[in-house]
Structure formats: structure tokens, C-alpha cells
């Protein structure tokens, strides 16, 4: 132990922090949240296979090992564990670590960090318990008036609180760092980590209000009725921005780490900061584009928020250019020639890089179909069809999840001090994920465009014979199976590393890019976080104020209706 720490110390001055240099009392809550997230991925992913196989009429739920579980219960577990637990846990873990690395100092409060671990675990246990006991088969959108056990809502609240604690800790650390570095630029790695959480602080208010002031009192019987349209709107206030809370930790890796891993340089610090400012500003005031087809929302609110939605796409366009250019610089530095020859010379033998390159590639389709979803008129064709899960399995299910997997391929060695077991298998895993998701999403796209509804037990649908969804459903089922195999391989590699990996000769260094145009050329105003946050609040008021003015008073007409 002291040997590897000494190696890291000997390299001194390069800013390298080995895992052993993070104090143990900060290391365990960070590594621990990663473990919770991966457990969520394993369980949630398992149920995904069952959902996919149902598409071809293969219903595995009645088998003895599944107990009394059924399709919609499994679908709820799949959605909540993957979309909330896995993503939150990774963000908490990874962006706590990147804050430490970015500032090159420990987090300001060890106590807050440990509390974020505890609240995340508590939230996972409460939500998990209620879902597995069929007290919360409400899917991950938990629309009222379908009721869940109050403990489910409490669990969701704890998951959100854990993210707020991480954010508070980042801001305290920023304050301490600024005191010691007056006038300096916030390091890009720390900047992106903090901006991700600032965006989420504002975005998570919707679901926090929904849970604390509406769903909890209603599910406890303190109030009799609830307003379904209003609580839906609170959900989607958070429900769109949450996708950037999933995505931005992956972007941190793409901007700051991947350029280094491929031997290139990030062309511009400024564009990276600008992209994150765009996400802070435009992630939240656009949630209504998930409600284009809701009866209770005025047309002009829908049109306004559609318009704002297109601005948020600009952040990803910038990312495509900047990260793409960084990749090209790496490929050319490694001898790539010609227009596209640099792609071949990227380090495809490194599973961490391969996984993330494939994640980026499929994100092109994911992003483009997102623009379709957000388009006022095209949305009529795809809303609540299988097209939507096809889209977000390419975004959160690939761009995010496969990037997290790629990050784990250096992060787990970083924490354990052991070499990645079977890197060849890890490369196969990444390719299988991409292939599986390509097939799966194509099946869902085709089905969706011909009217196949999402979140429906299609294999048992009584109208199935009236449609021609066979090809679509087979693609979905085959893709889902390939994904299941890929997921299994991932855990084989990770467990192999933890249990049997050879000790590392020297500690892993968190990769951090160099720049063509570094922070010294970036406009200093980008670092005025309070100003940008204030602007983001103003945009939210602009986008949701008119809705509130036209919608109120509330229309609470629904008692709980438990139909599961």
C-alpha cells in the first residue's frame, strides 16, 4: 500500500492523485456509491431482459424463481433502478471524485459526503423494498392517481436528497478553493462537475415539490384527492432535465478524460464551459415538450417550451464538434492519415476507450431522434409509442450507460489497485452492448412508428393480432438478449478485477486533457456561477410562469386508484 502511494508521490507535481491519496474516510463513500450504482445496474438490467423477451411472447415471469413478480412490477424495477439509482449513484460517486481531482484537494465536508452515501442507500432500500413487494407498481413516472406506498415516495426523496448533499459539498469545496486561489480560473474538471449539479439542483425542485407537498400527504391519506395534470407537470419539470443529469457525467468523461486517453488534446476550454452553461440554462424550462399531448396545458406554453428545447440541443452540437476534434487530434497523433483514417488509429484496444467511442457513435442516433420527439408536430406520431424507449435506450441506455461502463474500466482498477481482468473480454462486452442496443432500438423504432405503444405487455396484448409488429418485436427481443449477455460479461470483468486482478505496478492516474486553447483564453464571465444560475431561474419563471397563471387554481379531483 505504502509502496504504491510512494510511487504516486514520486511522480509529484503532475497533479496525479492515486486512490490511496484520497483519505479513507472520503474514499469509502465515493467507492461505496459506485458499488450501489452497479448493484442497481445488475438488478435493473436483469429485468430488462424479461421485458424484451415478452415482446415475442416469451413470458419468464411465471417461472418459479421469479416468485409472484409480473411484467409491470419488473418494468418498474427496471426503470427506477436504472434511471434513478444507477445514474444518481454514479453521478454522486464520479463527480465527487472529479471535484477532488479538479481542485486537487479533499471535499470540504467528509460528513456531508458520508451522509450522501447513507441517504442514497436508504433511498435505494426503501424504493427497492416497496417495488419488490408490489406496493409501488407505478413505473418510474409514478403518475397520480396510481398510488404507491408512501415509503416508495420517501425512498425517491432520499435519492434526490443524496444528490443535493453532493452539490452542497461541491459548493463548499469551491468556496474553500477560491479563498486559497483568488482570481484563478475554476479548473475545467471541477467546473463541469459543479455545473452538472447546479443544473440538477434547479431541475430537481419539481419532483421534490411533487413528492413532498402532493404525493406523500395524499398517499398517507392526509389529503383525499390530488390534481393529476398538475402533478404530471411537476414531474416533467424535472423529468426532462433529469436526462442531462444522466448525460453530463458522461460528458465530463468525454471532454476531460477521453482526449487524454486517446492521446489528443481538447481544442477549446471555452466551448466546453459554454456547453455546460447552455445545459444549465436550457435543461429545465423545456419539460412541457413531454406533455405536448396533454389536455390541460395551453398551446402557447407548448410552443414556447418547444422553442426553448431546440436551444438545449446546441449544447450537444458543440460537444459533437469539440469532442470530435479532440478525438481527431488523438487519432492523427497516433499516425492516422486522410479524411477518416484517424478513426482507425484511435486506441480501440483499450476497452475504456472502445466503450465510450461506441457510446458516442450511437448517441448520434439518440440525439437526432430526440429532436424528432421534441418537434411539436412529429411528436404526435411517436408520443408514448415504442419509439420513445428506442430513443432513450440510445441516450441514457448507451451514451450514458456504456460511458459509465467505459469509465469503470479504469475507475475500478483505480479504486482497487488491481489491473483490469480480461481486457479482451471487456472489449467484446462493449461491442456487444452497441450491437445489442442497435438491434433493440431498431426494433422499438420500427414498432413505434407503426403504433406499437411503449410500457405495454405487448406479448399478451389482446390487439396484437391486428398489427404487424413481428419483425420489430423479434429485433427488440434479440437485441435485448445480446444486451443481457453484454451486461453479464461486464460484471464478469468487474468481479474478476476485484477478486482476482493482478496488482497494478503503479497507481492509475485520473486522465485529464491538455488544451489547444486553454482556460487562460476563456472569458472570465463563464466562471460567474451565481450569475448563470440566476439566469437559469429567470428562464424557468418565463417558461412555467404562464402555465401557472393560466392553470391555477388546482383541480384536485382524484383519490388513489390502485389498479395493479
Amino acid at each position: 500500500m505504502s509502496g504504491t502511494a510512494a510511487v504516486a508521490a514520486a511522480r509529484g507535481g503532475s497533479g496525479a492523485i492515486g486512490a490511496l491519496e484520497i483519505a479513507a474516510n472520503q474514499r469509502w463513500p465515493i467507492a461505496g456509491q459506485l458499488v450501489i450504482g452497479l448493484v442497481g445496474l445488475a438488478i435493473g438490467g436483469f429485468y430488462g431482459i424479461l421485458q424484451a423477451l415478452n415482446r415475442i411472447g416469451l413470458d419468464l415471469y411465471p417461472t418459479p424463481i421469479m416468485g409472484r413478480a409480473y411484467y409491470y412490477q419488473g418494468l418498474t424495477i427496471h426503470g427506477v433502478l436504472l434511471a434513478f439509482l444507477f445514474t444518481f449513484a454514479f453521478a454522486n460517486s464520479f463527480l465527487s471524485l472529479t471535484t477532488i481531482k479538479g481542485f486537487n484537494r479533499p471535499l470540504a465536508s467528509t460528513w456531508l459526503l458520508q451522509l450522501s452515501f447513507v441517504t442514497l442507500l436508504l433511498g435505494a432500500l426503501l424504493a427497492g423494498y416497496t417495488m419488490f413487494t408490489d406496493q409501488a407498481t407505478v413505473l418510474y413516472t409514478f403518475y397520480a392517481p396510481l398510488p404507491a406506498s408512501p415509503l416508495f415516495y420517501l425512498g425517491a426523496a432520499f435519492l434526490v436528497v443524496s444528490t443535493w448533499l453532493v452539490s452542497a459539498n461541491q459548493l463548499l469545496t469551491l468556496r474553500d478553493w477560491r479563498r486559497e486561489h483568488p482570481g484563478e480560473r475554476i479548473p475545467l474538471l471541477a467546473y463541469m462537475s459543479i455545473m452538472t449539479y447546479l443544473m440538477w439542483d434547479l431541475a430537481s425542485l419539481g419532483v421534490a415539490v411533487e413528492v413532498l407537498f402532493f404525493l406523500l400527504p395524499w398517499s398517507l391519506g392526509w389529503v383525499e384527492t390530488i390534481d393529476p395534470e398538475f402533478t404530471r407537470t411537476l414531474f416533467w419539470y424535472t423529468g426532462h432535465a433529469i436526462v442531462y443529469f444522466w448525460l453530463l457525467p458522461a460528458y465530463v468523461s468525454w471532454y476531460v478524460m477521453i482526449p487524454k486517453q486517446v492521446g489528443g488534446r481538447l481544442p477549446s476550454d471555452a466551448l466546453g464551459r459554454l456547453a455546460f452553461i447552455i445545459f444549465l440554462l436550457f435543461s429545465t424550462p423545456v419539460g412541457v415538450h413531454h406533455q405536448f399531448l396533454d389536455p390541460g396545458i395551453p398551446i402557447f406554453v407548448k410552443a414556447l417550451q418547444m422553442s426553448l428545447t431546440f436551444f438545449v440541443a446546441a449544447g450537444s452540437f458543440i460537444t459533437a464538434f469539440t469532442v470530435g476534434a479532440a478525438l481527431e487530434s488523438g487519432g492523427r497523433a497516433r499516425g492516422g492519415k486522410g479524411l477518416l483514417g484517424w478513426i482507425r488509429t484511435l486506441p480501440w484496444d483499450n476497452p475504456s476507450v472502445t466503450a465510450q467511442l461506441l457510446a458516442m457513435l450511437l448517441f448520434v442516433i439518440g440525439g437526432a431522434t430526440g429532436i424528432v420527439n421534441a418537434s411539436y408536430t412529429l411528436n404526435l406520431v411517436v408520443h408514448n409509442t415504442a419509439y420513445i424507449p428506442a430513443h432513450f435506450h440510445l441516450t441514457v441506455g448507451t451514451a450514458v450507460a456504456l460511458t459509465i461502463i467505459g469509465v469503470c474500466y479504469w475507475l475500478v482498477p483505480y479504486f482497487t489497485g488491481r489491473q483490469l481482468a480480461w481486457p479482451g473480454l471487456a472489449r467484446w462486452q462493449a461491442w456487444l452492448w452497441a450491437i445489442g442496443m442497435f438491434l433493440f432500438s431498431n426494433g422499438q423504432f420500427v414498432g413505434g412508428l407503426t403504433g406499437e405503444p411503449r410500457r405495454t405487455m405487448i406479448g399478451n396484448a389482446t390487439y396484437l393480432h391486428l398489427f404487424h409488429w413481428d419483425l420489430a418485436n423479434w429485433l427488440t427481443a434479440i437485441g435485448g438478449t445480446v444486451l443481457g449477455i453484454s451486461g453479464l460479461l461486464f460484471f464478469v470483468v468487474i468481479l474478476g478485477t476485484v477478486l482476482a486482478g493482478a496488482p497494478l505496478a503503479e497507481p492509475v492516474t485520473i486522465p485529464q486533457t491538455d488544451y489547444v486553447h486553454g482556460p487562460e483564453e476563456t472569458w472570465a464571465g463563464f466562471d460567474r456561477l451565481g450569475l448563470w444560475f440566476g439566469l437559469a431561474v429567470a428562464l424557468v419563471v418565463l417558461a412555467y410562469g404562464p402555465f401557472l397563471l393560466t392553470y391555477l387554481p388546482l383541480h384536485p379531483v382524484s383519490p388513489p386508484v390502485k389498479v395493479y
Binding site: Y70, Y72, Y143, P145, L146, T225, D227, P228, E229, S268, A270, L271, Q291, F292, L293, D294, P295, G296, I297, P298, I299, K302, F310, A313, A314, F317, I318, F321, T322, S375, Y376, T377, L380, V381, H383, N384, T385, G451, P453, R455, T456, M457, I458, N460, T462, Y463, L466, F467, V516, H517, E521, T522, T550, H555, V557, S558, P559, V561, V563, Y564
Partner: protein, 155 residues
Amino acid sequence: MKLDRYERMFLIVAVAVLLGFQAAIGISVALTRVRLPAPVERVDARTLRQTPPFNQPGLRQTGPNTYEAVIIAQAWQFNPNEITVPVGSTVTFLVSSPDVTHGFELTGTDVNAMVVPGEVTKVTAHFTKPGDYVFLCNEYCGFGHQTMYGKVVVR
């Protein structure tokens, strides 16, 4: 702040593309009859079945080629679950739910809308070709969600 030439060009193109998308959507809304659902009327979900017009669900003729279909979307069926209209009809659907949230997706047309308790969903379809048009619930509404559908028979 310095931007390289390619960066600047890319930013300009990206913004132009996004504005172009918005313009295209604006034009398509202005030139076609595509309309999204909008607030019509609030109802009390608890007393929906006693509230006109939902106390008498079904099809009514309102003009030479126009009809109004009042449909209750409930767990897990549409009431009525079959209506028949002649080719060339324009049908306005009024749909509402007495229980949980449902969807109303009329496959083969551009009619697709949410049915949220407390609100009346109003959507219109023009039937120019004969055939069976299946409408199904596309929002999870509990254990029997996958059995919830009906059809419009166009003769």
C-alpha cells in the same frame, strides 16, 4: 475569447440548422391541420359518469359529415369500444377518465393524446379511407393495460 475558424463555422451552422428546424415546424403547423390537444374543460373524475356529455357515451351526428364521439377511458376498456362512421366523416372525440391516466392513440391517423383525470381531451380525425382504425391505450394504467383498445369502423 478566441474561436478557431472551424469552430466558428460549426457554431453558425449548428444554430442555423436548429432555427431551420423550428421554422419548418412553424410552417407545417401553419399550413396543415395538425393541432395539439388544448385545454377544453375541466370535469370531476369522481362524478364523470353523471356529468354531461359523459353520462351518455357514444356517437352523435352533429352535421352532414361530422360526428361527435364521447368516450370514457377507464381501467381497462374504452366505452364505447366500437363506433361506425361513413367514409368522408370528420369525428371529434371527447375523451375523459374516471380513474387513472390513459392514452388515446388512434393508429393509422395523427390522433394521439393523453387522457388525464379531471380534464377533457378533445381531438379530431378525418376518415378519408374505409377500414378499421384501432384506438388503444398507450399510457400504463395498471394490470390489464395491454387489453385496453377499441376501433373505429369506417365504411
